[in-house]
């Protein structure tokens, strides 16, 4: 079996690592355990293995949630997982160097272009054999999202979360505001809110990425899902009247977005929604992590981005977060078992119980704990015809972070956008990959 040479590799590594800390006895047991794990062909019942896990879950709630998942896995498998948590944005920015250096066996990552790119470059581990065990537990859309360009799987989804408008029910009721179904209704509502002296749409773009959510939705609602995906892959040009229309529409909305967005982080903007300074907030459902007061949390409701030009709202932005293996980790049975465990309802529930702002992706996940709010979010994803991953996950990272962030910040500030220049830069950058 192909696992055998891999198994040997693991033995040698663990032996060296064990000897390094001077625990020769421990190394011996690791050797034995790894042998049994290897010879059983990855049954997962080996136990006593160990793996490292690089986590980008630096925010408090997800950090605790991954800790809960890891300890549930350790309990079940008797493997030892060493978790190393890095700053969320920092982890993302260092990923190329991280994967080329000495990465952990398993690490947190995202579906989309970002996953496929590193898979194509051969920097991450193939988890197709894990998928042969857990595949039936995921929808086709999720399997598709976990598959690289070569048809192999490289990613195991944990959860996803829809983007949309969040608002406080009681606040809206007291003011007599109603959920808008179309863009015109949204603008009319925002106008009312502005006259009432509050910020209609909370908005934060100091970190640059949140504005991409507005762009993605407007583009999908005006030009359709396929155009959006093709634009992200630069199969469509930026200097087209179609993209111009997106920004023209955004201009209308811009006057109702928080004008101080460029100095705010999404957490600060969430506070404005929480304390009723702002009427609604277009963000991912992770926004609810910010509401530690149960009364506020229970008061939060959600509505999808309204219809603009394309009929309906069945394209949903719902980025998928999950785990991947490094090349080295693909040789480590304990790391593979951990990913397989994430593909079970049990594993996902261990995570979800702590961080319930997201939607579990496994079919057999026990959703009896879902609140009406969670169910609503889950239904939006379940009923979606198309799921996008967010601009910085669907597009070339250099395009997203080096070009779009400054361009959208400038648009936020001045209301003008140089599409011809975006196209020129896109041409140069996509040619470089």
């Amino acid at each position: 079996m192909a696992a055998h040479p891999g198994g040997f590799e693991l033995n040698r590594r663990s032996l060296i690592r064990g000897a390094g800390i001077g625990a020769v006895g421990l190394a011996g047991t690791q050797l034995l355990a790894a042998c049994s794990g290897g010879s059983s062909g990855g049954g997962g019942a080996g136990g006593g293995g160990s793996a490292t896990f690089g986590s980008n879950a630096s925010d408090e709630v997800p950090k605790k949630a991954y800790a809960a998942f890891v300890s549930a896995f350790e309990k079940k498998s008797k493997d030892t997982i060493q978790t190393k948590t890095s700053d969320h944005n920092g982890f993302q920015e260092k990923i190329s160097n991280y994967l080329q250096g000495s990465p952990d066996d398993a690490f947190t990552w995202f579906a989309g272009y970002r996953m496929r790119y590193y898979a194509k470059k051969g920097l991450v581990g193939d988890v197709s054999d894990v998928w042969s065990k857990i595949g039936s537990n995921y929808s086709d859309a999720l399997k598709q999202a976990s598959t690289g360009d070569d048809g192999k799987q490289y990613f195991v989804p944990n959860y996803n979360y829809p983007w949309g408008f969040f608002y406080r029910k009681s606040f809206w009721q007291s003011k007599g505001w109603e959920v808008p179904g179309t863009f015109d209704e949204l603008v009319a509502l925002a106008k009312k809110m502005k006259t009432a002296g509050i910020i209609p749409i909370a908005f934060a773009d100091k970190d640059g990425w949140p504005a991409m959510g507005t762009f993605d939705y407007l583009n999908m609602r005006i030009n359709g899902y396929q155009f959006h995906v093709d634009l992200c892959a630069h199969k469509e040009a930026w200097n087209s009247s179609k993209v111009q229309e997106v920004f023209d529409t955004w201009k209308e909305l811009r006057t109702y977005q928080d004008p101080s967005a460029l100095g705010l982080t999404w957490q600060e903007a969430a506070q404005k929604l929480g304390n009723k300074q702002a009427g609604m907030y277009l963000l991912g459902s992770f926004v609810t992590q910010q509401f530690t007061d149960k009364a506020v949390l229970d008061d939060i409701d959600f509505f999808p981005f309204p219809e603009v030009k394309v009929e309906g709202t069945d394209s949903v932005e719902a980025p998928i977060d999950g785990l991947m293996l490094s090349k080295k980790g693909a040789q480590n049975q304990a790391a593979k078992d951990m990913l397989a465990y994430l593909g079970t309802g049990e594993g996902q529930l261990a995570y979800w119980k702590v961080d319930s702002s997201n939607i579990m992706t496994a079919k057999d996940a026990d959703t009896s704990g879902y609140s009406a709010f969670n169910k609503k979010l889950g239904d939006v994803i379940a009923n979606a015809k198309h799921i996008s991953q967010f601009f910085d996950r669907d597009a070339l990272p250099a395009m997203a972070s080096n070009v779009m962030i400054p361009a959208l910040q400038n648009f936020t500030k001045s209301g003008s956008i140089d599409l011809a220049n975006l196209e020129t830069q896109a041409k140069s950058l996509y040619a470089n990959q």
Partner: protein, 323 residues
């Protein structure tokens, strides 16, 4: 015993037992290095040269070469020569480059006009025999030693829009009139410059304190005896006497403003009015949006700009030595 004498060695380098050499040649041999000295010297020259080669020249040459290629930065191979395309991106296509150059110039002027003189002022004040001078020196030097992350937090406390110290003092915290120190691109460069000066002044102060200690006290005494007042003593005697320090300070101020990066990076990732050339290099070379060729082109442009003060410094140093 006779086997000890190595056959291959020439007589000149072998301190042979013959003792038949003329005295003049013997003296010549005494002046030459012994083999041990030669080895020590060779090692002492070779190691720094090697370090210099591997850590400075190799990356520099690699950057220059890579700036003419396309490369994904991941696999060896797949290099594609693109001529000046990466430079065209830098100069013509990237909207951030020229603002970044402008910001670097503003940065340099600000440090030269405010930061460095402030450091000099602190040094002169703390060089006086005042009580607790060491404590003040330490306090002003602390910012130089703090980590970037900590500096980010400290200035966030000052500048935050809703609950920062500055807006609280102005009475605008939490109101729509609050100054958005980090988000407003008209003010955030100045906010960052104040933070940079806070660090830079401490650094300059330490250098000038050392420089002031090096000025011969008899010069001051002589000037005082000649009836010069304190200002005249400083500007006519002490300051010119610190010429070597002044050259270093000029170079450091220029270099600091060219490699200024950390403060703007912790504020907002060096976008929205805080673009700097060094930050663009980082953005395109080490971040997730890595594009090796373009990043290298940015790096080469920064290198060429940096060569100006370096050449100035080196030519000053060597010409003084020749004199």
């Amino acid at each position: 015993m006779s086997g000890i004498q190595p056959i291959g060695l020439s007589p000149a380098t072998t301190p042979g037992p013959e003792g038949t050499r003329p005295p003049a040649r013997a003296r010549g041999r005494l002046r030459a290095l012994t083999r041990r000295d030669a080895v020590v010297l060779a090692v002492m020259v070779a190691i720094p040269t090697l370090i210099q080669l591997v850590l400075v020249w190799l990356p520099t040459v690699a950057s220059i070469v890579l700036s003419f290629f396309r490369w994904d930065g991941l696999t060896l191979g797949g290099f594609q020569f693109v001529g000046a395309a990466n430079y065209r991106f830098v100069f013509a296509e990237s909207p951030a480059f020229w603002p970044a150059v402008l910001h670097n110039v503003v940065w340099l002027l600000f440090l030269a006009v405010i930061g460095t003189p402030l450091g000099l002022l602190l040094a002169v004040l703390l060089d006086q025999p005042i009580r607790g001078s060491r404590i003040y020196q330490s306090i002003f030097f602390v910012p130089v030693m703090l980590s970037v992350a900590l500096i980010g937090i400290i200035w966030q406390l000052f500048y935050s829009q809703d609950n920062g110290l500055l807006n609280s003092l102005l009475g605008t915290a939490g109101t729509p009139r609050a100054v958005d120190w980090f988000g407003n691109s008209n003010v955030n460069l100045w906010a960052a410059l104040v933070a940079a000066t806070w660090r830079h002044a401490g650094y300059i102060m330490i250098l000038y304190l050392a420089g002031l200690k090096g000025v011969d006290p008899s010069l001051r005494e002589a000037a005082a005896l000649d009836g010069a007042n304190a200002r005249q003593i400083f500007f006519r005697v002490v300051f010119p006497a610190m010429a070597p320090t002044n050259v270093i300070i000029v170079v450091i101020t220029i270099i600091e403003s060219l490699r200024a990066f950390d403060i703007v990076y912790v504020i907002n990732g060096a976008t929205n009015g805080l673009e700097l050339v060094s930050a663009l290099v980082i953005q395109y070379l080490v971040g997730e949006g890595q594009v090796i060729g373009i990043g290298s082109a940015f790096a080469v442009v920064l290198l060429v700009i940096s060569l100006v003060p370096i050449v100035f410094y080196l030519s000053r140093t060597f010409s003084t030595k020749e004199r």
